[in-house]
Amino acid sequence: MFKTLPDDVSEAAIESLLHAREELRQSHAIADGGPGHARALARAVDSALVALCPTWLPGADWALLAVGGYGRGELSPFSDVDLLILSRRPNKIAEQLARTISYALWDAKLEVAPAVRDLADALRLPEDDFARVTSYLQARPLAGDESLGREFSLRLRSRLARDHGRAFLRNVRLADRQRHEASGEADQDLEPDLKEGKGGLRDVQSLLLAGAVILEAPTAAGLVASGYLAADEVAEMAQALELLWAVRHRLHYASGRRSDRAYFALQEEVASFFGHGHQSGRAPAEHLMRTVHAQAAAVTRATTAFWEHVEEELLLPRSAPGGWPVWLGSVGRPPARNRGSWRVRGDRLDQADPDQPLGNPEVALAAFAEAARRGVLLGHVAIRAIRAGLARGPGSPLWTERAWERFLAVLAAGERSAELLGQLADCGLLGLYLPEWEAVRYLAHHDLYHLHTVDRHSALTVRELNRLAMGQGELGELGASVAGEVSDFELLLLAGLVHDLGKGGEGNHCTLGAELAVTVAKRLGLAAERRQRLALLVRHHLDLARAATRRDLDDPSLVRQMATVVGDPDTLRMLFLLTVADSVATGPSAWNDWKATLLRDLFFRTLRVLESGETVEAGSAVAKRQQLRLALAESAPLDQADAFLLSLPEPYILSQPPAVAQRHLALRQRLGPASLAVDVSPVSSGPGYELTLATADRPGLLWRVCGVFALHGLNILEARVYTDATGTALDVFRLAGAFEEEIPGHRWPAVLRDLEQVLDGRLALGYRLARKLRPYRQSHTGPERQPKVTVDNSGSAEFTIVEVHARDRLGLLYAIARALDELGLSIHVAKVATRGPEAVDSFYLRDQRGLKVMDQQLLPEIEHGILFELQGLDR
């Protein structure tokens, strides 16, 4: 029969456990406060348990085993104490022992529920309970029949070693991945889970368990000797363990319970334990978390390298052991040496020779670019080689044009961009090319808004921009449509990367970030125009989101103000995409359907103002007029400049840059008594030509001019039509060749001659166009989409907006302009966007009285008239 344990023995054991734990709590210090403290806590529990299983317990068929983390001999203050009571055959003693231990430890406020199993049962491991397998693997005999405990461990291990441990290794990998999915990433999350998160303590334990199965010797030194880990990785991991354990102990002590996640509420208290004070304007918690993130990153670096090596050696199919050889292209060494030294295996591009340090930043960056183009990551051998190479201090590399191209390839790597940027930063290359990056590395946003550190958030913003452009982001098709019209998407990707660099300093991060952006852009050798635009995007990256939720979108002055800040439609599109990407990368509190609707609304309203040149802020028109006046005075007498400016409508003042206005004034002066003056010049930014014509305004002017352009194979990308106070029309067109990119200079005089003829009424335009277009009529392939006309009377306060969706072809604008002319509608601005074979033309219209079309019956007439003329093009 079982004898109950005398009360005094039990009480004494618990009393001394409580005492020991209290002493440990009081003496917990930074020095040896990590794994050492964990072992001391485990030893205290060991003693109590041994005391609870005294020698008088009859029979030898039982063994008390510590399992799980406790089996390893490591506990945090409120960790679970996992126990297994084993017997060869089921017996009452084992069960009684379990009860005694549970009750006794309950009094010590430790929750323990020992599992009771016989040997056969314990070895029958269920496939789906992998957590139990790993827990049992760490079994450590505490009391009872020691031979039973040893036999259990031996038999368990021999079972797992079947298949060279492959099934086991795969299971460890799978369990790790699932755990990361559920618990997040300790090196990037603002409230990291130090135990279960990626880069947390469990990752190190998984690695050691795997090492034990592969090498049957679970020491870090053994893993280095056999090439699974590098010596510096082991050293960094040991350092990381010190900090992560110590912080975890503090989190337990601070919360008085098992809390492995560093919640904001606990961070401050833990930080003060580590002696972090207020430094350079940052809270103590931010200093602490930065260290935690950096150490967790070290764990991730080592474990990633380890598992990649294990997968290549043991888990990947043998069929392609070497992978596919890759030539990196010319990167400063002879191709013969370069060829074959890089390989793609699985989803990694890697260096073939593990002992070759890679100290040339240009070559390293080329490898990243190649990985980006292939949609893979860089392998651990290469990452190690780059780290080792850069540790020798190659000095700051130059931003050559080629380096910039390669860097862009990484930024534009679609879904892979964020991970690749992470690798680029982790191996030290990003910091070398972009020293400003170091100030935001592992930096915590101490707020309830963000989920990630500043560096991770920036990388995610870049990935969101990629997604938006692919139509896979939060905006769906609209994202792709807007991104397709952005003239400088590369600059936008760079803006995504640097938009929060200002957080590394003190003060307003938008202002500071704009300054840093200029420094970065200068180093990259970007032209002044691009530098200014980058700075504008960074300075105003919060403005749209703020205005969308906090300001009255129905207030025209708000929309005008946004339009003035942004300046032009292209920059607005960039800022809109940056705002969406930034918000999505921040977290669910910054982005949801509700905010998306408001933001989109503000974007559309501001775009209408910018595209149409509708009255912008009165003050800004005055300022702009002054700016134009100064510019014009450089090339003409002041009285002529003033007369010219006074005669022009406000939309012209607001939309035309000074350099263009100078040319227009010259053109206007040339017009004199002649009936037509034309000026052609290549567009300074982007493809195409700008053609401006001045002539006496008359009905049907626009469609006639458009017809002549079609006759000469010129596509119209944009048209802006102004009429000055003297009744002179000043029409500004952006043109591109329909069949060739460059228009030879000798073709322009013919265009000019036909323009003169058609305006003199000496050219049968309809007949000539029909003859010109006939050969092209059947040349289009693919399904014919029905053209569509939409009339929008609510998008703009001053114009009726008509959008025409039709197959892109010569003469399109001619046909539409004719239809509108017939209805007495004047086109103020026409914009043409092409998407593949389709053109989407937007027209800002006013009626004969210079007002929006208020006559509801006219609206369907517009649609019918345009559709009819479009059919005419095909006849």
Binding site: D552, D554, N592, K595, T597, F604, T790, A833
Partner: protein
Amino acid sequence: MKKIEAIIKPFKLEEVKDALTKVGVHGMTVSEVKGFGRQRGHKEIYRGAEYQVDFVPKVKVEVVAEEDLAGRIVEVILTTAHTGKFGDGKIFVYPIEEVIRIRTGERGPDAL
């Protein structure tokens, strides 16, 4: 006791909150909501594709107060959330049967 539920324009939230605090409201619940009333939704066209907004984003503010304060609260919301344009929102007033503070079990006005 009354519950005052107001649907307002998002940008008016700060103003309404400040004004309510001034007249002695110590607690409120705020949610981001979407819906339509007379303002209806609207449609945006961008490069040929239509973006329909059926439900307009609004903010819902809920306040429970004693009878004598309820009238004042309605008045404050009415003046601060007003712009005179469509979509200014609505205010609903409900009778409240019971209020219980979960932490202490206090009931009635004490629990407010």
